[in-house]
Amino acid sequence: MTFNELSERLRTKFGPDAAPPAEGAPEALTVRSSAIQEMARFCKEDPELDLNVLSCLTGVDRKDRIELVYHLLSYRKRHELVLKAALDRAKPEIPTVETVWKTANWHERECFDLLGVNFLGHSDLRRILLPEDWAGYPLRKDYVAPTEYHGMSHARVNPLHEPEAPADRKQAELKDLSQLKSLYQPVAGEMVVNMGPQHPSTHGVLNFLLVTDGEVMHKAVPHIGYLHRGMEKMAESIPYPGYMPFTDRLDYLAAMSANQGYAMAVEKLLGCAVPPRGEYLRVLACELNRIASHLVATGSMAMDIGAFTPFLHWLREREYINDIMEEICGARLTYNYMRIGGVSHDLPDGVADKILRWMDHFAPITDEFERLISNNEIFVQRLAGVAAISAEEAIDFGLVGPNLRASTVPWDLRRNMPYSAYADFQFDIPLGQGFRGTAGDCYDRFVVRVLEMRESCRIIRQALAAMPAGDIRAKLPRRLKVPPGETYARVEAPRGEMGFYLISDGQETPYRLKVRTGSFTAMSIIEKLSHGVMIADLVAIIGSLDVVAPEVDR
């Protein structure tokens, strides 16, 4: 259904509660805030609308009001709808939609944390990314950053300008560290174990509070935000092309996809087309990066379970990909390869052959990996049937990417909403089918990733064979001024849908950038999954969901 049909259907049902956009404004329905819950439920349950996915929920400070934005999507009908609600800036309040989509719980907490929106009826409304005792709401336009936090000063002296300023080097007097607050008060018979932020199998600085009874867990409560670097706020002060290196660091294992998502969002607003060769190079780079990312995901998962050798094998393969990447774009990890309108460099001579040679070498290694670990009975026993996620649950919690497909939902943006040059290629979408246990269990999530690496190789071969000639980048001025408007660009990153919600007010810097990431929603399901499993299984669950800390916290 088109936007007009969707909004017509909602308007006949709700009348004046849903107002269409003004002339020239972006396509979005403005909703009366008191009616949001009812309308959200209708959107989800009405068979014609069937908007079963809440892709993104965020807020924007419009200076005179706070605007909440809901991006809805239908997996079956493949249409999307944007709902907006205007809230009073002095006292922003709106009913929660947590009862409709469970994923809204964390999105709303983030919105409360960064914008100070009060969600009425929310079950657990507290800060999620910033420390509990933080003052102010950073994404408000009039926010002033504090000069210090717990005695750590915010200033940094430049040693080149002020070489004799020793005050800066003095370490802050920190308060008694044993006073670090305990986040949960156990009841009788419960024991609380703290896992992280420094733990070898939390994949970065994540913290879990395990409430256990002996070896069986009652629940594991994830605490995130230890790597919240304020990327969304920083975007508001950096010119459009200059923000590209930051997207690298959004998800350091899959920097290419983040690059591409951001570039696509800006290109959509500019209305500029990428030359075919540019698109093919993007696909090539993204798929190579997808393999590199899945290598770490599957390898470190095996390591968490206790098999160290496969991880080292995959690190060795990853070095080869890093070498190729270095030749393509000059960096091993943070590529900064994409430019708005194309890519930065053409493929150097001989690299295509090098990639083909590497893939010839990689195929038998993958077979060996499957023999060594995927079909290893001990490994299978640890994963099969553990923490199965049903298809409905996966959609409800907003899981995306391989985690969603392992739960048998056939949804891949590369296939279902093709972007870039993906429509030109033949490839399969591996789905979970209960390979050794239940569909959607940890083992399925693992196998889906291994299969995806093989599919990526297929795409790379096709892209190299059919690489068109021509420009690699559209001609754009150096100082970009993006016309006012807003857009939401989705890419299929290795950790699932990455959404860039970009608002421009016609200046050289974005007005607001919101990044919706796959790891964030994947983290939110852990509390639900961890009920009643053994402590050792939690490591398997975290590994199988493949969360990456900076993508969770941004």
Binding site: M152, A172, Q198, G204, M234, R249
Partner: protein, 153 residues
């Protein structure tokens, strides 16, 4: 006496520098390069540097990546849990000075604000070779230490 001291010191330092156990702690992008440095190509194990999962057994804290204010006190806690003598490498621009995220409201502007740093390793992220070089530099620093003489004085 001086001869004995020198030789004992040399022996102690040799032992210490040949088994630098670093804490398996990675906070951001640099952590991936740290991981690759422990992998087959750079292989930090050559220098006796192997990862340990607990600070109680570690000699070296490699601060690999951005430290936010929320994390800062935990890093200090990790440092305090390590047994002396202990060393710190600030790996990458973020750990040195806040790096790319210096303008952010939630990022600590350099890990030397909370723990003393022995080696500053620039780069965003530094290559594994650079990390290996930092370990070698640290070994050099260790081999010149005069613990016994300081004790006597």
């Amino acid at each position: 006496m001086e001869y004995l001291l020198t030789n004992t010191e040399w022996f102690l330092n040799w032992g210490r520098k040949s088994s630098i156990w670093y804490l398996l702690f990675a906070s951001a992008c640099c952590g991936i390069e740290l991981m690759q440095a422990g992998g087959p190509r750079t292989d930090l194990d050559r220098f006796g540097a192997v990862p340990r999962a607990t600070p109680r057994q570690a000699d070296l804290l490699i601060v690999a990546g951005t430290i936010t204010y929320k994390m800062a006190e935990r890093v200090r806690l990790l440092y305090e849990q390590m047994a002396e003598p202990r060393y710190v490498i600030a790996m990458g621009s973020c750990a040195n000075c806040g790096g790319l995220f210096q303008g952010s409201y939630s990022v600590l502007k350099g890990v030397d604000k909370i723990v003393p740093v022995d080696i500053y390793l620039p780069g965003c992220p530094p290559r594994p070779e650079a990390l290996a070089d930092a370990i070698l530099k640290l070994q050099q620093k260790m081999s010149e230490e005069k613990w016994l003489r300081n004790l006597r004085a």
